[in-house]
Symmetry: C2
Subunit: 209 residues, 2 copies
């Protein structure tokens, strides 16, 4: 199955601006992309990066500098998903992704659409077999995608994975990466001076230096 | 498999104090407990509530007014888990739990211990077959539990579920309940005036007065 991995190379991870400088955000985002691609290499899927500018990667890359929703929909229209040729879309900031977790996106089932919720109403990963399905990543995308599926008469299966539901967008998300990853993005954070902040309730992060 | 569901009846959900009054927090916590017990009823497991005071429930309840870690460890010691008689512990605030998600805690495997991470370093659900394993819910419990397992020579399998990893502790967690549940706790929130707050980035919640 072809899996599209969109990557916003310009100004990525703006919601980490309170803890990372612009060049750091870019470098950190590239480390997460590398982790996602390594995890995908451990699956049966065939990843393809959709980036806003050319990147130096070992996997095939299409450059499209339009906004995320527009670029992904153009790629879906070009791929013409069908039950015989399903297409996946996996976000590049799933820093906890593993081959096992990604393999939950198994298209061998009855559902026309697999949706993996992201925290806060997002859609972190999906698989479509329906040629007419289009994404809308603005706002409450999970609800919008459910509604689009209903409008198309497409059946939906929710993919239940903590690892795939954890997109790394905000300071608090860095805790999950420090705790549950051993990839390049975690190493990047440790090298940048981040550590767990053990207090009451949930853990936080601190940055030294 | 026996599954212990600990419930703190006194002063539950203190980290929701900015959005819920004390009596509301108790009532909301009881709605989540009811949802967890209904979801467990859809599994092969045998739930047993461990509460800090007597409750009016249809499932067996043990009253132990000590702190969470102490009470759960006393229950584990009494249950004497073994490979033939594994014992589960599932938090009462897993408002997104479904029978399918809970069934991932399937003890039929080689691992001595199944651990389900909670956001922020917690342990939202576990299964133990090892008579010597004890919990420590204070601080970074997931790391502590991994360390205890290592010390015992017990093998660990991580259970990867967004639904089980989402404990409802803080204001932002209410978003997940509003989006992905149709249980009593979600109804409670809607009746109390909560609604999704659709803005940029992740969704939030608002409460109307």
């Amino acid at each position: 199955m072809e899996v599209i991995v969109p990557f916003a190379a310009q100004r990525p991870k703006t919601r980490l601006r309170d803890v990372l400088a612009p060049e750091e955000r870019r470098s950190f985002a590239e480390a997460m992309l590398a982790d996602v691609l390594i995890a995908l290499r451990g699956t049966d899927f065939d990843p393809h990066v959709l980036a806003t500018e050319p990147l130096d990667l070992e996997v095939g890359t299409t450059v499209d500098d339009r906004r995320l929703t527009t670029a992904v929909n153009a790629a879906l229209a070009a791929a013409e998903p069908s039950p015989e040729a399903p297409v996946g879309v996996v976000m590049a900031d799933l820093g906890l992704a593993t081959p096992d977790a990604l393999s939950l996106l198994d298209p061998d089932g009855k559902a026309d659409l697999l949706l993996t919720p992201g925290r806060g109403g997002g859609t972190n990963a999906l698989v479509t077999k329906h040629p007419g399905f289009r994404v809308d990543y603005h706002g409450a995308s999970y609800l919008d995608h459910l509604q689009s599926a209903r409008a198309l008469g497409a059946t939906v299966r929710e993919v239940d994975s903590y690892r795939l539901s954890t997109d790394i967008d905000e300071r608090q998300d860095l805790v999950e990466l420090l705790l549950h990853s051993d990839g390049a993005a975690r190493d990047w954070l440790v090298d940048a001076g981040f550590d767990l902040d053990i207090d009451e309730g949930r853990l936080g992060v601190v940055r030294e230096g």
